[in-house]
Amino acid sequence: MTGAATADVTGAATGTTVSAEQVVEMSGISKAFSGIVVLKNVDFSLVKGEVHALAGENGAGKSTLMKILQGVYTADSGEIRVDGIPVKITDTFAARAAGIGMVFQEFSLISTLTVAQNVFLTAEPIERGFLISDRVARERTAAIFADMGVEVDPAAPLANLSTAYWQLTEIAKALAQNAKVLIMDEPTASLAKHEAEALFELIGRLKARGISIIYISHRMDEIYRIADRITVLRDGAHVLTSALSSITPAEIVEGIVGRKIDGQLEWRERAASAGRVPVLEATGLTSGARVRDVSFTLCEGEIIGLAGLMGSGRTELVRALFGIDALSSGSVKIGGKPVTIRSTKQAMARGLALIPEDRRSQGLVLEHSVRDNLMLPLLDRTTSGGFLNAQKIVSLAQTLISKFSIKVSNPTMAVGKLSGGNQQKVVIAKWLGTEPKVLMMDEPTAGVDIGTKSEILDMVRAIADDGKGVLFISSELPELLAVSDRILVLRNGEVVKNMVRSEIPNEEYLQLAIQGA
């Protein structure tokens, strides 16, 4: 039965045909927030043992649809069936009872608890009647991580860990529930290749156990790698559902954006990179335990890609450059002049900008409006005569919103209510608005949809063409290869390779360089 799961559902059928194998069936789902309709009469079905990809632009409604299935939101109308039986999923507890678990895009973790405590939150192992055992939870967590093929300390307080570890913990937490339906909302957005690979293998094993998986992703290669079927949403409406075997990437992209685009990430030779006027020179930078004796020169018009495994120190390097972490030794020159940067304020004054890796904790004030967030680094420019100029603010914010096609019904809406990808766009827009001399980007396209990603990469190129220098961190090698003129490979905080783009023949070559094989 499991083996036949995918074979009988083909073409553009919406999947509403009754079948005994359908574990989840959502039909006619509609949802509006404060009058803004975000889901319109959407149908979705999941067959036992399949991996069903869910795709769509940022803000298309993917997360909302899944949150309805998980009981976070209740649909305004529509019906949900689990194993053919209509159910009312009014809260997350009901969803868990129905065997549905979810990896949340914005995480469901408590930073003050440890990894293991998070993984087993509400499902704590019990001993002696009613006492919970953190020891057992730690052991089981370690087992889950081993299964996932990653190494995370179950006893570490979450607050001390970076986004990638949060992502892994979030996945482990969903796995710990032993759900029969697992929703994964962009689980690899902050993962590097190695961890992502391990996750795909795990998904294969889960599938073999008959667990059905809904997989939301913006990465076409992943979708083809693991999914059996795909459903595409656009503007809250169902566009297509198809077996992946019978659909081309171009068709999917067309379904997502509603028009044909050549969405391929390719490197383009750029004349500007020949300028060779150094804009940022770093010599012997050492900071904490994760940046050791790093030296490089970034020239005007150049894009340097930073590659490395998780924990290789890329984030720490740009943090130190931006004045967040102190340098214990080393020197920095900007525009040929030696500078000391001890605070982010100084860094900004010297023309640096950093798009941080964690948009929720480092990039945005979630409760504040989109406009206020966009304007935060631009306050000097919108002040005249000592006071903020409301007109300037409104028009500048509007310019950024349209330039980065941020999907927001009203610029005064709280940024935390935007879809994940749109939040990321706000962070990018906020910093590009400052027109920096040196732009540092730490995983800037995490969670951004395909169309926008290529637009962002175009923008990065344009910024470089304009004579600025760019440091570009990404764990997604295709995009790293697409924009970088040069790639530095970091390992344990040290630069182990410094390669000109043209020396890198393909992705595999880079992957091997990163892993140090």
């Binding site: 404060s34 982010t344 480092q362 504040h368 935060l376 903020l388």
Partner: protein, 321 residues
């Protein structure tokens, strides 16, 4: 539910809900005012002098509430303001009797400046909870004020000081009203219309994100605590002028009223939101209720019961969902 209705009714109800929630203090204020005006009209509630009295009595609270709005907007708190007001009144009174008005005023302000700077320094540099720092300071400062005065009042015989800070009227407008309005106007303008105000809100909304955006959040926290100290010392001198003396007790317990006024006004205790005008109305609301309940002829216990119930009712009206 059809699309059409939802499209048209939803935004409307959203607008209504947002306004309603954020403006609950204004609605509450007007409701309480009308209630008292109708029931206590004959008891002189609506006489101009009584209404001005409400303003006079809440002036010190309003002045402190403006600064406290900034402190709370950065997700900090200042419990020392009541004591600082007391010590400022005492120091100003002593300085006036020895060195005259100007030195007295400067000495009073100096108290707020120094204590605010100590609070701010500890909170921003050592990153320790402002609740405890300022709670410790509350005790310390009141101890100092008692110690230097032997718990006795220090009379202020300077008519200029007393008129400037206290009972003086300009025409029929009480000086205290002007003090409160100036603080509120400047406070609201700075909060909403300047870079500093935005940085305060960002610091309270998400300190890490603010730091990553080039804001020196330590400096911001230091500054708001200094401002709070200064406002408290102005409030202390307003008490001193009105009561024509400095005394360690002036301002005692005001911290709770001030914080209540600020939160009633719509500022979040968790930072990131700051409504200066709301704080003023929060203070006026509290003053109005006190005044009305006394005029209604209730005794202390009844006043306490009804005042508590009114606060709870006002808060319940602002419910989130």
């Amino acid at each position: 539910m059809s699309t059409t209705t939802s499209v048209f009714t939803k935004p409307l109800s959203a607008v209504r809900r947002v306004d309603w929630r954020q403006n609950v203090i204004y609605i509450g204020f007007v409701a309480a005012f009308l209630l008292f005006a109708i029931t206590l009209g004959n008891d002189g509630f609506t006489t101009p002098n009584n209404l001005l009295n409400i303003v006079r009595q809440t002036a010190s609270i309003s002045v402190m509430a403006v600064a406290m709005t900034y402190v709370i907007a950065t997700a900090e708190i200042d419990l020392s303001i009541g004591s600082v007001a007391g010590l400022s009144s005492v120091v100003a009174a002593i300085a006036i009797s020895h060195f005259g008005t100007v030195v007295g005023i400067l000495a009073g302000l100096g108290v707020g400046l120094v204590i605010g700077a100590v609070n701010g320094g500890l909170v921003s540099l050592l990153k320790v909870p402002s609740f405890l720092v300022t709670l410790g300071m509350l005790g310390l400062v009141v101890g100092v004020a008692r110690w230097i005065t032997d718990s006795a009042p220090i009379p202020i015989a300077d008519p200029f000081f007393n008129a400037l800070f206290g009972g003086g009227d300009i025409g029929i407008i009480p000086g205290l009203l002007i003090w409160a309005l100036v603080f509120v106007a400047v406070g609201a303008l700075v909060m909403n219309k300047t870079k500093f105000g935005r940085q305060v809100l960002a610091t309270g909304g998400n300190q890490t994100a603010a730091q990553f955006t080039g804001i020196n959040t330590s400096r911001i926290k230091f500054t708001v605590l200094v401002l709070s100290g200064l406002a408290a010392s102005v409030a202390g001198m307003l008490y001193a002028g009105r009561l024509q003396s400095g005394r360690f007790q002036w301002g005692t317990g005001d911290e709770l009223s001030v914080i209540a006024a600020v939160i009633l006004g719509g500022t979040s205790l968790f930072g990131g939101r700051g409504r200066v005008v709301g704080s003023l109305f929060g203070a006026l609301f509290i003053g109005l209720v006190n005044n009305g309940l006394i005029l209604a002829g209730l005794d202390v216990s009844q006043q306490q019961i009804i005042r508590g119930a009114i606060i709870i009712a006002a808060v319940a009206l602002s419910k989130k969902k």
